[in-house]
Symmetry: C2
Amino acid sequence: MAKPKKEPRPKAETPKGFRDYFGAEVTTRAAMLNAIAGVYHRYGFDALESSAVETVEALGKFLPDVDRPNEGVFAWQDEDEKWLALRYDLTAPLARVYAQHRNDLPTPYRRYAMGPVWRNEKPGPGRFRQFYQCDADTVGTASMAADAEICAMLADALEEVGIPRGDYVVRVNNRKVLNGVLEVAGLLDPAEPDRFAEERGIVLRAIDKLDRLGPEGVRALLGEGRKDESGDFTKGAGLTNLQIEKVLAFVKANELVDNAILNATNTNSEPDQRKPLEGRNAILCHFLSEIVDWSKIGREGVDELEEIATLLAAQGYGPDRIVIDPSVVRGLGYYTGPVFEAELTFEILDEKGRPRQFGSVAGGGRYDDLVARFTGQQVPAVGVSIGVDRLLAALHAKGKISSAERGPVVVTVMDRDRMADYQAMVGELRQAGIRAEVYLGNPKNFGNQMKYADRRGSPIAVICGGDEFAKGVVQIKDLILGAQIAENATVEEWKERPSQYEVPRAALVDKVRDILAEQS
Amino acid sequence: MAKPKKEPRPKAETPKGFRDYFGAEVTTRAAMLNAIAGVYHRYGFDALESSAVETVEALGKFLPDVDRPNEGVFAWQDEDEKWLALRYDLTAPLARVYAQHRNDLPTPYRRYAMGPVWRNEKPGPGRFRQFYQCDADTVGTASMAADAEICAMLADALEEVGIPRGDYVVRVNNRKVLNGVLEVAGLLDPAEPDRFAEERGIVLRAIDKLDRLGPEGVRALLGEGRKDESGDFTKGAGLTNLQIEKVLAFVKANELVDNAILNATNTNSEPDQRKPLEGRNAILCHFLSEIVDWSKIGREGVDELEEIATLLAAQGYGPDRIVIDPSVVRGLGYYTGPVFEAELTFEILDEKGRPRQFGSVAGGGRYDDLVARFTGQQVPAVGVSIGVDRLLAALHAKGKISSAERGPVVVTVMDRDRMADYQAMVGELRQAGIRAEVYLGNPKNFGNQMKYADRRGSPIAVICGGDEFAKGVVQIKDLILGAQIAENATVEEWKERPSQYEVPRAALVDKVRDILAEQS
């Protein structure tokens, strides 16, 4: 293949919206995912790694008559004119895998999956077109024990990676309870499921805005509508006041029950977790069953929440870790039964320096129609997805992981002809499990070698020139202590606490090990 | 988005040439890569994870005037009409990353990378379009210490994942020595590097066929040419007999030296690894320097091999692990200096049941022009790539990893209303670090529960019905022992060695732990 003479040089740049990850960015994420995988495995979940590439058809994002796939995924045509695409999440591939391999898989099938997904969306600050997801799903059982198990597993996973108990809570809600509320409010008729679909859409979007608009803004959207600051009018669902109160009571049930408990007198006794549901969750379920009133689907939803809470209490997961909370709104539009969200409750400072709660790091729920797309059969399933980047950010904020990895011990090169001796030194250090390397740049300028050690975050430099070889010793420089002394110490302190030691060559490994132990 | 009424169901299938990985297939690979990463890290190498997507321009696979990218990569156009593609290896992205971030990276830059790559090639048995690579490279130094270090690291990595010393050998060759041979044979003129390029291509291809054609076949290709069994004639390089002998002596140097050593008398004394190069590697280098004769480039290559062997010997890596071996041909066309290959020397049975050596699992070498594509500056670099699937296959063949993972302890469901109690049991088991799950399928048919446990590879089933709850006990069934007894035992043995135990409920965890310990 002859090349044209003056080929312009290619630009060395990542495609727009993509990035590279270096050193500790890679290893801390890998360690976190590894810890989570350990918890999932202990719960009987099996690993699954599907390929990054799926047929667009299997991803189910597009109409069959659309020639060119929409935005949203990265797609191309293969040699058979078939459209292929990079997966945009780990759930669509799970549905495809389960439909394809269901005869070889156990029922129910518990699986976890971790890996990158790709979104062909406008990138923004902190929003990339490739990012990690970490999912666990149970396919093939309608038992609430599966939902409860995933909530418990999520709590365990958070603690395993370093979020202490009390710094997180898993909140559980149920789409069916909302449907019950909508039914008694006259907005859902099981006999005519499509009727009032538009109004229900408005209701879902309205309660999703509770955080932003407050109860009064939501009230307006549930009723006639709402004019925002700019003067734009958003049409409301047209509910009556009574209907509006029902919906708001559901969304705010948690708060109402908290107030009721505060006002009561004898609620200080600790509930026994092993007995049928007691305490706060029981009061809440009772309250919810009053809201959904005669609605069959609503009562079913309340029963499910009660069952989840009871199963969790039996394993010792009380309201300090997992709570029923109807204010969980995210996912209510997507899931068909229980939904849950893991929230970190400690405060961090936002970009303007104001304290705020860290917020959600994981979410999930029950969905029933993903596999049916392929097989025509409804297969009940429930799953959870951990926001990998959010959880990593939380661990950084808590000081659980550091972005600066400790570098290797650097053996400097004073005499190029002694390279074999320097290699022998790092060889011994590595044999002892100590991260170590010889400086392999141009050794002429010793200052450059020390600059290199600094850039590498090296804790120790080993120095050995002609004099040292003649005397059978090595110089070992404690770079961490050296940097501290250089910054803070008086001359007297500097003399008392030398940061450089001369030891016999045979004592190299022991001395390095001692200094590393002191540093950590 | 309204859907047409009768949308055909999508097919649940992986795209052609892709596959799914289940359970132990995922975890054993992850564990192996994790062990290798530990070795790389100890050698001072830093992790790098670039994105799966690169610009086609940066991958450098295509001419700028080609509108539609060639076969070989999966490529598509983004919204700016720019061509993007999935990476086809980890080296091209390294060159891009180094060119892009070189001011922020240490010099030299040691990095490792592990992850999937994609090839738009015809899939075949065992050949997939997505597979893992595992690379380590040192960019920015011409020092042979970098090459030696990578050879040592490769040996350490193989031992770390479970290939014992003696079952592998890292063979080292050097492109410059071949160039020296070509120079003294009159096929390379440093003043006119393009002259004889066609002949050199024929020579390279010919010696690459040594395994298949034998010395006589190669001799024919180096000379006038060769007619194969079908009668097709392949044109040769047209070398004289003297030239041919030179080339063959280089390729077969290893064998010739082995014979020379066998014929000598006093070669049984163990060479001292810490002294200047002695023994077999010294004899071989002496032999090579005679072959390359007056060639400057050839002598440079021999010196490099000698330096690598000396540096390795200083760290205790002798010819039992790393040998100079001019019969290494793979990579001689691609690399510019030292090339190396890790070969597993134990025998396995091929598909026809004949014993053969397992063969190569890793390879690498020195290359100098990858970064120059971007910056115009030559940046010396050396790297190694481990064949992840080949090495996994080797570990399977050696019985180091098993494709069947031990499944979870399964707590069966005898009474659906007791789900909370069953959940409490698995909760306790998991707290004790034991993999455990409750059966979440339809519990009506107990036989199905035992079939499920069997399919899951469960070591133990826990059984607890109304009687057991009343007595405060549980039944614990050793499924491994049970299966052995069912297969082999007489009735007497069956009575003597029960595989099912009744223990107090409080002793559940201890008894399960005991049985698991006995099983392993």
